[in-house]
Subunit: 363 residues, 2 copies
C-alpha cells in the first residue's frame, strides 16, 4: 500500500524516526543505569509497547486499568498504573490485572490506598505501591518532606500492599530555559531530601520513578532517580521540539489531511478538533494547532470539529481541493486517542497498520 | 442500575431534559414550517437519531461518510453530508450510501463536485447537491452573490448530480448580543440577495439549509431559510447557555467524575482532555473547562490528559478521594466523541446505555 491509498485524516508514523527515538532513549537509560518504563498513553498500541520492551524497557506505565487490560498482549514484565485507582469497578480491574502481571500503583492518600489493600487481601494477593510526591505541578502527590514520610509509613501499615518507593511527575517543567533550569534544581533538592528522610528511617526506596519527555535527557542529573517514564519520546511532537528535548526531524508522527476548500487567503483541511484535539502549545501562548510540513509560512490558526483553518499568511495560493498535506501536531498523545488506527510508513510506502487498542478506554 | 454503579469518567444524559429539548425544537420547526435535519455529530448514536426522526425530523446531517454509514440503522428518510466529499475512498463510500438512502452533499467548488458526478454517473445513480455559501465564518463556501450563481450554474452542468439548493453555516454568530444581532441582519440580506439572484434566473432552490444551535430560535426570522441543521440542541452545553439559546436547566449532558486527590486549595478529578476535550468556551476568553454542578465557587481551570484541576476558589475543602461530581462540559460534541458509551439517566436510575456508534469515524 502507498501513502496515496490512505484516506484522510490519518496519523502517519515514520517508523525509521520512531525506531531512532526508541533506540536513543533505550541507549540513554542503559548508559545511565536507569530503568525505562515508557508511558503507553502516547501510542496505546500493544505492538509498540512490545517493541519498547524488546529494546530493554523494564515494563510499561498506564494511566488507567482499562488501558492496562487492553495492553496486556504486549506481555509487560511489570506494570505501573501511575494514577490513584479509586472506585469499586477500577479496583476489581486492578485485581484482575494483578493476577495476570506484576502490578504497582502510585497514589497519594490513605483514602486511595485502603480499599486497594482490602481488595488485595480478599484476593490473597499483594499489589505494589509507590507514594506519589508533588514536585511542583500541584496535581497529585503529597508535598516533599514529612508528608511523604507519613504516607510511606501509612502504606507500610496496610497489609495487601507492598511499598516499593516513590513516584513523581515534573510536568511543571516544560522547557529548559533559565527558569526551567532553576525548577530542575529545586526538583533535585526535593528528591534528595525526600529520599534522605526515608533512608534515615531505614526505608530505602527500591524505586524512585519520575521523569517526562521534556526532562528525559536530564534524568541522569537527578541522582536519586532510578526509573523514568517518558511517553511522548516515541513519536515526539511540536511540544517536544519547543521543550528542547528533540529536533524537528525527530517528530515521527504527522497527520495526513486533504484540502477541502480554498479561498484567496486560506485553505480548509479535513482535520479539526476531532482529529488533532484542541490542545494548544504547552509552552507558548501562540494559538496554532500544528505545523504544515514543507510550508513554513502557512499558519494553522483555528479549528472547528472537522475543519482546520489554515491562513496562507503571504504564501501564494497554490493549493486546490484534493491536495494533501502533512501536519506535525502540537500534542500527539491526545491526537492518537482520537484515531481508530494509525499507519507506519517508510517514505511513500505504508509498512504497518496498527489499531489504537487502548484508545478511549476511559475508566 | 443506579448512578453509583457507573464507573467514572462517564457521560450522563438526563433523558427527561433531552426529550424536552428535542420536543421543543421539533415543535418550533413544525410551527414555522421549517424542515428539521439534525446534525448527528453531537450524539453519534443511531437510537437518538431515530428519536429525532420519530419527532418529525426530515432526515439527518452528517459530516463524514463513515459517520453516515455508522448511522444508517436509524433509517434516515434523507441524508445530508454537510461537507465537501473529496478523495476516491470517500466518494466510493458516498456511492455506497446513495444506494442505501437518498443522499445529498454540500460543497463549494467544481473541483469537489466533478469527481462525485463522475462516480455517480458510473454507478448509474444521481446524488443531490447543495451549493455551499460562506456567510461570514470564512470556512467553506463561496461568497454570496455572483459566485453562488456561478457555482450553481456549474453544478447544473454536471450530469450525475441533482442540484437541490443552498447550504450555509452561520458559525461566526456565537451569541445574540448587539454585534450578533447586527451579524444576523447581514445574514438576512446575504440570504435574500443570493436567493433573489438565483430566482431571477429561474433557479428557485428547493432547499435553503442552514442554522446552528445558537441561532436555532431565530431561524423563522430568516425568510429564505426552509431547513435547519442544529446539532447541539439535543443536549446543550456551556457554550449553548452562553449563546443565550438555552437555560442552564436545559443542559441534558453532564460528565460524572471521581475526586482522586485533594489538597488544601484544590481537588483533582479523573477527567481531563481525553474525557472533556480541551475545547475552551466559544464566546468567552475565560479558560475554564466545565461547571461543577451544585458547587458554583469551584473553578475547573486546567486539564492534563487524565486529570482535571479544580480550584476550591474559597470554597471549604469538604471533598475526599472517592467523592463524585457532575460537570457540565464546555462543548458536548467533542466530549461525546471521546466516549465509547454514554448513559441515559432519570434521577439516580440508569435507564439506557448507548454505544457512541459513529465516534472516531474520521474519514
Amino acid at each position: 500500500m502507498r501513502l496515496s491509498d490512505i484516506d484522510t485524516p490519518a496519523v502517519l508514523i515514520d517508523t525509521a524516526v520512531m525506531e531512532r527515538n526508541l533506540a536513543r532513549a533505550a541507549e540513554y537509560a542503559r548508559e545511565h543505569g536507569l530503568r525505562l518504563r515508557p508511558h503507553i498513553k502516547t501510542h496505546k498500541i500493544p505492538a509498540l509497547a512490545r517493541r519498547q520492551i524488546e529494546l530493554g524497557a523494564c515494563g510499561i506505565t498506564c494511566a488507567k486499568t482499562t488501558e492496562a487490560l487492553a495492553m496486556l498482549s504486549c506481555e509487560p514484565p511489570d506494570l505501573l498504573i501511575a494514577y490513584p485507582v479509586i472506585g469499586a469497578q477500577k479496583i476489581a480491574r486492578l485485581i484482575e490485572l494483578a493476577r495476570r502481571a506484576p502490578v504497582t500503583v502510585s497514589l497519594d492518600s490513605v483514602d486511595a490506598a485502603r480499599p486497594i489493600a482490602e481488595a488485595a487481601r480478599a484476593a490473597g494477593i499483594e499489589i505494589g505501591v509507590l507514594a506519589e510526591m508533588d514536585v511542583g505541578l500541584r496535581r497529585v502527590g503529597v508535598p516533599p518532606g514529612e508528608p511523604v514520610l507519613d504516607l510511606v509509613l501509612a502504606l507500610l501499615r496496610l497489609n495487601g500492599l507492598r511499598w516499593r518507593g516513590l513516584a513523581f511527575y515534573p510536568g511543571h517543567i516544560k522547557t529548559l530555559d533559565e527558569s526551567g533550569r532553576a525548577q530542575l534544581g529545586s526538583l533535585r533538592e526535593a528528591l534528595w531530601s525526600a529520599v534522605s528522610l526515608l533512608k534515615e528511617r531505614g526505608l530505602a526506596p527500591e524505586i524512585v520513578s519520575g521523569g517526562s519527555t521534556p526532562l528525559l535527557w536530564e534524568s541522569h542529573t537527578l541522582p536519586e532517580l532510578n526509573e523514568i517514564r517518558p511517553g511522548t519520546y516515541i513519536f515526539n511532537d511540536r511540544n517536544t521540539v519547543l521543550s528542547g528535548a528533540c529536533a524537528p526531524a525527530d517528530c515521527a508522527a504527522t497527520v495526513l489531511v486533504t484540502v477541502v476548500s480554498t479561498a484567496p487567503d486560506r485553505i480548509i483541511i479535513d482535520g479539526g478538533s476531532k482529529t488533532f484535539s484542541s490542545d494548544r502549545l504547552a509552552s507558548s501562548s501562540e494559538a496554532t494547532f500544528g505545523e504544515v510540513v514543507g510550508h513554513p509560512l502557512l499558519r494553522f490558526h483555528k479549528m472547528n470539529e472537522e475543519h482546520g483553518f489554515i491562513s496562507l499568511n503571504g504564501a501564494p495560493q497554490s493549493f486546490r481541493p484534493g491536495d494533501r498535506l502533512r501536519i506535525v501536531p502540537n500534542h500527539i498523545c491526545v491526537a492518537m486517542n482520537l484515531h481508530e488506527r494509525v499507519y507506519g510508513i517508510q517514505g511513500d510506502e505504508v509498512t504497518a497498520e496498527w489499531r489504537v487498542e487502548a484508545r478511549g478506554k476511559l475508566q
